[in-house]
């Protein structure tokens, strides 16, 4: 069986992403969990009108929050700064340091970018539901707050809940620790976060990894992301940490 998922360069691996695509961007917000190589490749490519589904709108990288020694790293802020993004669906849009607004805040105040606020747990579950073929789910999170606006409400087991719909995307850009040539992935420490739930919710999932190994080299007992969820693999460029 000829399965060819390994790409030589970050530019090749994002080459077919076009204007208007909906893209999930993995990780929580630490340097080690963000797909920095792929984000940079997408910035180089310059595609526009993107909708991003991510935990944040790029709030940590420039400030070096979430890296050892406070070293700045790449996150979706570079895409937003470039004017490549039309809308962000996230839980953390605003800068973590109020006195240092991020690119998203500046564009949002100018009315140049859209926002859909999603509580983090609801975001994770909407993505999980998307990957699992579900239409949505009822959650208590957000009842009685601004989040419930316009949403169907139902009392289940005596508890008020709101209906939240599944999320799917054209592409998922994620980072893992190791891949085998089948696309099976393992992670290290906190790397799983949104990385391990996004590939299955996207038509095309692209993983950047520290190391690519031959089939059979990863213990099947510890594989976290089964290879059928992953379409393309590329090695992390070291300079991007």
């Amino acid at each position: 069986m000829a399965i060819q998922k390994i790409y030589k360069t970050p530019d090749e691996v994002v080459a077919d992403i076009s204007d208007g695509a909906t893209i999930m961007v993995g990780g929580f917000g630490h340097a080690i969990d963000r797909p920095q190589t792929l984000i940079k490749a997408l910035a180089n490519k310059g595609v526009k009108n993107l909708t991003l589904i991510s935990n944040s709108a790029g709030v940590a990288g420039k400030l070096g929050i979430g890296s050892l020694g406070g070293k700045p790293f790449i996150d979706e802020e570079i895409l937003i700064e470039n004017g490549q993004v039309r809308k962000v669906i996230c839980s953390v849009p605003a800068s973590l340091v109020m006195s240092k607004p991020n690119a998203f805040e500046r564009l949002y105040r100018e009315g140049k970018i859209e926002l859909e606020y999603v509580p983090q747990g609801t975001l994770a579950e909407r993505i999980r539901a998307g990957g699992a073929g579900l239409g949505g789910f009822y959650t208590p999170t957000g009842v009685g707050t601004l989040i419930e606006r316009g949403k169907e409400k139902r009392t289940i087991d005596g508890k008020e809940m709101i209906l939240e719909f599944a999320l799917r995307a054209d592409y998922a850009l994620i980072r893992a620790y190791q891949a085998d040539t089948m696309g099976n992935l393992i992670y290290k420490g906190i790397m799983r976060s949104f990385n391990a739930i996004m590939p299955q919710a996207a038509k095309t999932a692209i993983a950047e990894v520290e190391e690519i190994v031959d089939m059979g080299e990863l213990d099947p007992e510890v594989i976290i992301t089964p290879g059928i969820f992953v379409d393309r693999i590329v090695k992390i460029l070291r300079e991007e940490g």
Binding site: E125, T141, G144, I197
Partner: protein, 221 residues
């Protein structure tokens, strides 16, 4: 000016409520400091929403820190035997599913009924809901830690929150730099006051009428 409790002491007081075996999630700011004050003889399992449970303290030296061992507040943690990792859907399943016993969160405002507002205020417009809303809705016990009033002297414990709320009726205990207040069905119960503070002085900085506990005492540390 009367002396107020430091952020560390507020965190220390909140940590006194960590029971042996509790699963605890700490928000950023004052709550994160509570990790250093687990009462002696008790074991607490710390949870971080970015996918780790049962981890150790912040490393004493930067050399020991590792990039794949970091909590949601951005601080590194030490590995500990029995620690485990998981993805975000599982992590928030733990939170919403009632598997986290206690969360300590910062607060901008808390209402008489225990409503919490902590993610934005009108002047900023934007804000970060992050994982705080799920924590406030899902954890069995939610403790708010905060300074009793804003730096400009505005009250923060109010009859009704004026800022957008994070979760209604979620707070059960408020620990501030001058008092410990329990949220009850009948109202806010003043249980402890900081050294040198009187009931009347705390009441003057609190909008709702406080019920004074029969056994009110000085904050024990």
């Amino acid at each position: 000016m009367k002396e107020r409790l430091s952020r560390e002491v507020i965190a220390l007081r909140a940590a006194k409520d960590f029971f042996d075996g509790a699963v605890v999630n700490l928000g950023g700011g004052i709550p994160a400091l509570a990790a250093n004050f687990v009462p002696e003889g008790r074991t607490v399992l710390f949870h971080t929403e970015n996918g780790a449970l049962g981890f150790g303290p912040v490393p004493s030296s930067e050399l020991e820190a590792q990039p794949h061992l970091m909590g949601a507040s951005g601080l590194p943690f030490m590995p500990l035997p029995g620690m485990c990792f998981f993805d975000h859907a599982a992590s928030f399943g733990m939170i919403r599913g009632g598997h986290i016993d206690i969360t300590v969160l910062g607060a901008l405002q808390v209402s008489e009924k225990g409503d919490l507002a902590n993610w934005t205020f009108p002047k900023r417009g934007l804000g970060n809901i992050g994982g705080g809303m799920d924590l406030a809705f899902g954890c069995r016990k939610v403790i708010a830690t905060m300074e009793h009033v804003t730096p400009n002297g505005e009250l923060k414990i109010l009859t009704e929150c004026t800022y957008p709320i994070t979760s209604p009726r979620c707070i059960s205990l408020i620990v501030t730099d001058i008092a410990v207040i329990k949220v009850s069905e009948t109202g806010l119960v003043l249980e402890e006051v900081a050294p040198g503070w009187t009931v009347e002085e705390v009441q003057a900085l609190t909008e709702p009428k406080l019920i004074v506990a029969e056994d009110i005492k000085e904050i024990q540390l």
